[in-house]
């Protein structure tokens, strides 16, 4: 039954895809690939690697993650040098300090509380990494690594590991898992509660991954669709509307880029806080 319905839906979608214009170009912009597409100037083919039969080629998103990383390292090496030379921050250093102090005072301190210093480096890294990846996706010819489910899932898994490690380091392995189950639960409910709480552990990073991925993908799809309207309707008269709306969505994307970096960091910090201080 399930199989047949799947088949029907699949066939319908294929038929629709064949009849209408090809929308592959949108996917081409969103999805990962083995080329760096700077058309019309150049298209660079990326090398292909394999390790133990697993395809570990350098893809477009990998390259843009690296660009983001190099950018971050370069910027922060410069910034930390400026701190050594003078106690008074100026200009760009001051601007970055706002973010650093924000992550420290508005995210880590209130959600984790005592002992937040241990997780601050991780939170700062994840915040600036996601932020930079999001913004690089908004630059022309740039690709958004954070709009790939593999990337966001990996970041979420790392967050998950940090959360569990934080909880276990603070409460001990046995104490941590015991603390997952609320006090005063009847004995016969324990197996069910254990399963529920265990599921709860995994839904948190799952939500983190999906949220970031969906938010970063959706904006791009909408922008590309609005621009694509011009070519699908095959008229130039729709372009003012398309471009105005695309511009609006683009500005919204800037907000979303900031917001999603904040939310990912904030929720990671919140979950760390919950794992570390289980009594709450």
């Amino acid at each position: 039954m399930l199989y047949s319905e799947t088949k029907i839906t699949s066939d319908t979608l294929t038929a629709v895809a064949e009849k209408s214009s090809d929308t592959g170009w949108i996917m081409h912009h969103i999805l990962d690939g083995n080329t760096l597409d700077f058309s019309p100037f150049a298209v660079i083919n990326l090398p292909h690697f394999e390790l133990f039969g697993i395809d570990i080629s350098i893809t477009r998103h990998v390259v843009f993650m690296w660009i983001a990383s190099i950018l971050l390292i370069a910027v922060f090496v410069l910034v930390s040098k400026r701190y050594k030379s003078s106690m008074v921050p100026k200009g760009f250093t001051n601007f970055l300090e706002i973010f650093i102090v924000f992550v420290r005072d508005e995210i880590a301190k209130p959600t984790i509380g005592k002992g937040y210093e241990k997780f601050l480096s991780y939170l700062l890294t994840i915040f600036f990494f996601i932020l930079t990846c999001n913004f690089i996706g908004l630059v022309p010819f740039g690709a958004t690594a954070t709009s790939n489910i593999s990337v966001t899932a990996t970041l979420a898994i790392i967050s998950f590991l940090v959360i569990q490690a934080g909880g276990i380091m603070k409460n001990g392995a046995f104490g941590y898992f015991k603390g997952l189950i609320p006090h005063g639960v009847p004995f016969w409910l324990l197996p069910i509660m254990f399963v529920v709480e265990l599921l709860g552990l995994f839904t948190k990073p799952f939500a983190l991954a999906i949220r970031l991925f969906a938010n970063m993908t959706a904006g791009h799809v909408v922008i590309l669709s609005l621009i694509g309207l011009i070519f699908i309707l095959n008229t130039i008269w729709v372009s003012p509307v398309s471009i105005l709306f695309a511009l609006f969505i683009y500005l919204l994307e800037i907000l979303v880029a900031l917001l999603q970096a904040y939310i990912f960091t904030m929720l990671s910090s919140l979950f760390i806080g919950m794992a570390v201080h289980q009594e709450h």
């Binding site: 399930l2 319905e5 799947t6 839906t9 699949s10 979608l13 294929t14 592959g24 996917m27 081409h28 969103i30 999805l31 990962d32 690939g33 690697f49 390790l51 697993i54 395809d55 570990i56 080629s57 350098i58 893809t59 998103h61 990998v62 993650m65 690296w66 990383s69 971050l72 390292i73 922060f76 090496v77 910034v79 930390s80 701190y83 050594k84 106690m87 300090e97 650093i100 102090v101 420290r104 210093e117 601050l120 480096s121 991780y122 700062l124 890294t125 994840i126 600036f128 990494f129 690594a145 790939n148 489910i149 593999s150 990337v151 899932a153 990996t154 970041l155 898994i157 790392i158 993908t217």
Partner: protein, 182 residues
């Protein structure tokens, strides 16, 4: 419900196109993401977060220390000000006392001097009075002597010329005549 499941299955299946679905999980990308992120984390932790957070803490400590110092200095200044005020009040009181004492002393001195000079004046006056009296007495005495002498002289002359009436008369006349000439 079944439709939603179908759509999810469809999204995961690679039947859509050769590029793969939007929800395709790429193990290679997971591998690279993990490596990139961990390296980035380690490098940034070493070169950026540690020194930056340390200097932020140092600065915050410096600022709070400075504020505390300033507060202490303010308190110290306030204390000194109060002390100065008290000292000043004391000095003022002292001055008043000294002035009062001086005035009292001057008053006393003045009274004393006046008294003394009054006495002196009285003494001088007394001396002058007695001198005058003495002089008066002397003059009186001299006058008396002279009167006596004149009287004696006159009596002598009268007695000497009193030998006869005629002569006597003559003498008196002559004497009388002589009188106004003196």
């Amino acid at each position: 419900m079944a439709l939603i499941i179908n759509l999810i299955l469809l999204a995961f299946s690679e039947s859509g196109s050769h590029q793969g679905g939007i929800l395709d999980v790429n193990p290679g990308l997971i591998f690279w993401t993990a490596i990139t992120f961990l390296l980035l984390f380690l490098i940034l932790k070493k070169v950026a977060w540690k020194p930056i957070l340390k200097s932020l803490d140092d600065r915050e400590k410096f600022i709070s220390d400075s504020l505390e110092k300033a507060e202490n200095a303010r308190k110290e200044a306030e204390r000194l000000f109060e002390e100065n005020k008290a000292n000043l009040a004391k000095a003022e009181e002292e001055t008043q006392k000294i002035i009062l004492q001086g005035r009292e002393y001057a008053e006393k001195l003045k009274d004393q001097i006046i008294e003394e000079s009054k006495n002196e004046a009285k003494k001088i006056m007394d001396a002058a009075t007695s001198e005058i009296q003495r002089k008066n007495q002397e003059a009186m005495n001299t006058l008396k002597e002279q009167i006596v002498e004149i009287a004696v002289n006159a009596a002598e002359k009268i007695i000497r010329e009193n030998l006869d009436k005629e002569l006597q008369k003559k003498i008196v006349d002559k004497y009388i005549q002589e009188l106004p000439k003196n």
